[in-house]
Symmetry: D2
Subunit: 349 residues, 4 copies
């Protein structure tokens, strides 16, 4: 850590900081500049936080040198994390990107859900996603069918063999949800619901963690750290658009750069959700392809058998014919990129 | 609602929208412009959402005319909501702003906590706040003493008569927390934790709802709506700074304008937390005064008996001497503004 | 336009709005809802602005139905604008994306500049870009060589045949700059420097207009409208990253979705600058490829013969070897995408 | 400066940085941490920028210790800058806040302008502001009467003795404008129009510099630095609202905290424009009072004799009766705060 003192910091103030750092076992170097004294604390200690130091009198700023996330960091684990499922499906590393497809929320029409599942299966996708518990901005909106929805998803899994993904909103529901699904999702609005992160960290089911719409990449990786710290290392990060000053033509701003950035700093797989990010059907094909090109390990795409009657997010849901139309081109790109990665790693360019 | 159709919307598309609206009992008027057809749906129906309509083919945009929050709206309840406590303390309306004072998180030093409580009491403040369950960005930070902290707060209440405020992070802890405190707080990061909003809505304890750092005022009022919709109308809104592009010198950007804006649209009391908003001690006095001037019904100020050894947010906590220094000037302003409001409402300016 | 009246708007207020609209030749329909009266003004008049109407007493909100930009809109010109240069190079439409390559700012080392130009030429790029007049946040930074830089660029053009692009910061310099370059650039910070937009609109040289880091896509298209309105229709829009809450690992947030969005609403060509958007060398290859995939008509990439001694933005400049390494893969993708578009437009998929 | 090296930085990389710093006369200390080597460069040199250093291979990050603005900094000039005008009016220091009042843009109705000027004068305000050259987002909006407007303002000055403020948009107009007005204004959108900052820096007229809607406080002070660096030290900073994710109920988010923050780091006077910040008449009184409470040296308030027919920003303009209604209360607060400051500085609390 580097501690920058205020211009008017006293000898007292400086001594206090230095001594505290030494007590905690840091190797300390301090030197006065023209205006500010700078104190370098060398060592990797977690017994004292920058927060604590910045509270000391005369301290202007504390700067951490190393990233605050450790388990999620490539510094600790250079190779990519690959998550493998019972049926052999893999997410991460050099594997082709997976397809996670389904309606925003599950309604009671099973035939419709099955239609979507079959279309996904035929397109070579691996996962069926659907909302059972819905976080809704307004209490007047549909809140989800809860366990009934999970039962319908389970039936669709039996018929198609697709793996299941659904969102958990409360730690109390977690055991029940884990009985049905292969991956639990933490929604964007719950990215810093630390009780929920802890609960999910204590179960063995892989987790899709969605980036909070106003959270930095560092906070995103720290949220993953909460899950890993509690024992669950199977975390899949999902970029789903961030909140910016511009939502004139799209719901959020898709931060595709986050994919290569996260891959530089972390070993965890990263997927992209163009449906929630853009909120517009016509943008799903181009942004899905771009996500693959920048290295996404998967795509989460909303598809509904009857978007015009969907109980939520119909505007951004693809109909089955639209989905069939674009998924072919997306898969072709996915295959080619996978092939190129294979060649690259085999050093035959 | 107003539905704006795409320039290339077909007669079919338009008819479909019109018929759906009529089915739902709206009085419908549609007319073609040079480029877009506009459909007005007159009536107040909740059976169909803008979300649903915007999913129809050919729909460019759906614009709601009335605000989506109803229980929280002044349209429904023109007079200010005033929350009264057993000891006669009142929040809202023309009452003087209340003072909610205490450490960010409670540590095991009871004497220190008591010192703060006594200072608050002597300064005429009404509430002692303190964190028992702490949401922390990093799992390596102090997570709170949980029930032990509440026991210490209860002791301080006995000795000082101050009312208690603490944050709830999980619905499971709610009954236990309500046994100890007079007001439960929903933290900024949980503003859209709808399960928690629902749980808090089902209990009778007044709630301080903090604005999410990246939530609009409309979303803020919709979060309050979730609580009220579930039965608890004693909601106190707390502006605590929003996330913007600039955090060079402050932790967040305090949106003081939100206070008069909320008071125009809602009858709920609004308080301000300058400590979390700015993260800087030297800004607490000016921003507290400004909050009072724009009509805040209360101030939430972090005070710690030993900020340099606080387990969280020491940087923004006032020491007891600093607090005593500024609270006198803040209280004087509070009294004068209250007097002016009294005169105003008595029409003797 | 749609005018939404306040709940407490008087008959007087409403009549006033209606009459004013009628005076301006609108076909007016008004109807009272439960709470708000809504007035529809049908017609396409520019004699009265929403701004003006929203100032009328009792008006809550004015909503435009049609986009405020007209010349830049696809409503007026459905087919893509293609800009052709003397040497046959074309930007826009189904043409392959162009490459605009060069140092952030031109320093006095001509040999270095030439090296870059030759590398660009050999890679099949069409344009050499370089800064002669530099907008710098700090007055203590290098401000550019001005005309001397243009002379060096002109020499490099003679030797390589590359077209030239440089930024104009003041209308006074415009005639001189146009004598040297093929395209003038309006920098991001000047996107709403309307005097400059007007001046550029009055000359015939094609313009690269960079998106302001905090400007919406609508404002971006309105800035283009200023140029077109003054007579210059050869506007190339450049997405170069927007300012968001997160600049931890990148300089800005590249808004790639803006490319397909702009192409839906406007006929103008759109290029992408991954160098300024990310500020990181390692992100230039993936984000360039993603830009091509979403339909960018060109890429603007910073390359310097000696980034470590560049007078500005060295961190984001590629060295010539790095450039040669990545440009091959980027060009291959460009060619394949162009081929696919050709097939598509020839209806042979 | 502090230079943090990448974890994989070589001895070579480190040596290169160290040597370069030494060449530039820095006193250099470097030490390896567990992961990153940190290099401290002690000394105050402007011959090498962080920009330049961050381009060196193996450099992860460069952190400046001292603020990049020097002339604008309190480190250089601890006492407040006070700007005095021919008629004895003063801005800054312990002087009462000044009132800068007038229409957004000047239209041809002189009588109306005079009415506003007289109302301002009677209310004890010191400045008449009005737009002659208007930056407009759309080319279809009114662009200003240019010199004719200045002539009208000059007449109003003769009759009332008010000082004049108007915006300059192009350096070419500057000499002409300076013949008419006492203060030139740089608009928010031109805050980083460095050619204009330079031109204004070379004239003697005091400058109101408006904060760019998406610029940090540091960038704001650096823009002031550009003006001062070119010779004009009479810079008045104006906070006028920043762009955030929330513009539902207000035009911008007024960053009032910026006032005490700027006063901590700079000696320059700071004024506040609640009209542009909020865009809502009902917010002007509360936000004006709050601005005074946090220490603003002036208020810029839009007043129009006939807002409903104003050619721009009517929505946020006060009518003369509204202005007269609120200005009394604002002035009373201004007087009391000035009195308190006087007492304070006279140490008689």
């Amino acid at each position: 850590m580097i501690i920058i003192m205020e211009r008017n910091a006293t000898e007292e103030n400086i001594k206090k900081v230095v001594n505290l750092l030494k007590e905690h076992g840091f190797n300390v170097i301090d030197h006065a500049g023209d205006i500010h004294t700078v104190i370098d604390a060398i060592g990797d200690k977690t017994t004292i936080t920058p927060d604590r130091l910045s509270a000391l009198e005369g301290v202007k700023e504390v700067k951490s040198i190393r990233e605050p996330f450790r388990l999620a960091s490539r510094d600790r684990k250079p190779e990519d994390t690959v998550i493998e499922f019972s049926n052999g499906v893999k997410i991460g590393g050099n594997n082709p990107a997976v397809g996670i497809v389904g309606p925003c929320s599950i309604d009671s029409n099973y035939e419709g859900l099955l239609e979507v599942a079959i279309a996904a299966k035929e397109a070579g996708c691996e996962f069926l996603r659907g909302g059972a518990f819905k976080p809704r901005t307004s209490p007047y909106d549909f809140q989800g069918l809860e366990e009934e929805a999970l039962k319908l998803m389970a039936r669709a899994k039996e018929e198609t063999g697709l793996l299941l993904v659904t969102e958990v909103m409360d730690s109390q529901d977690l055991p029940m949800i884990c009985d049905y699904v292969d991956v639990v999702q933490i929604g964007a609005r719950n990215m810093q619901n630390f009780k929920l992160l802890k609960a999910v960290g204590k179960c063995n089911t892989p987790v899709v963690l969605k980036r909070g719409p106003a959270n930095t990449i560092r906070e995103f990786l720290l949220a993953a750290e909460h899950i890993m710290y509690n024992g669950n290392e199977n975390v899949i990060l999902c970029e789903r658009g961030i909140r910016t000053f511009d939502n004139t033509y799209t719901r959020n701003t898709l931060d595709l750069t986050a994919v290569p950035v996260i891959k530089k700093y972390s070993h965890l797989p990263v997927i992209v959700d163009p449906s929630h990010a853009t909120g517009q059907r016509y943008l799903i094909e181009p942004m899905s392809k771009a996500a693959l090109v920048v290295g996404a390990d998967g795509l989460m795409i909303e598809v509904h058998n009857d978007p015009e009657n969907a109980l939520s997010d119909g505007k951004q849901s693809l109909s089955i014919p639209m989905f069939k139309d674009i998924i072919g081109r997306i898969s072709a790109l996915n295959k080619r990129l996978h092939y190129e990665r294979e060649c690259l790693s085999a050093n035959i360019q």
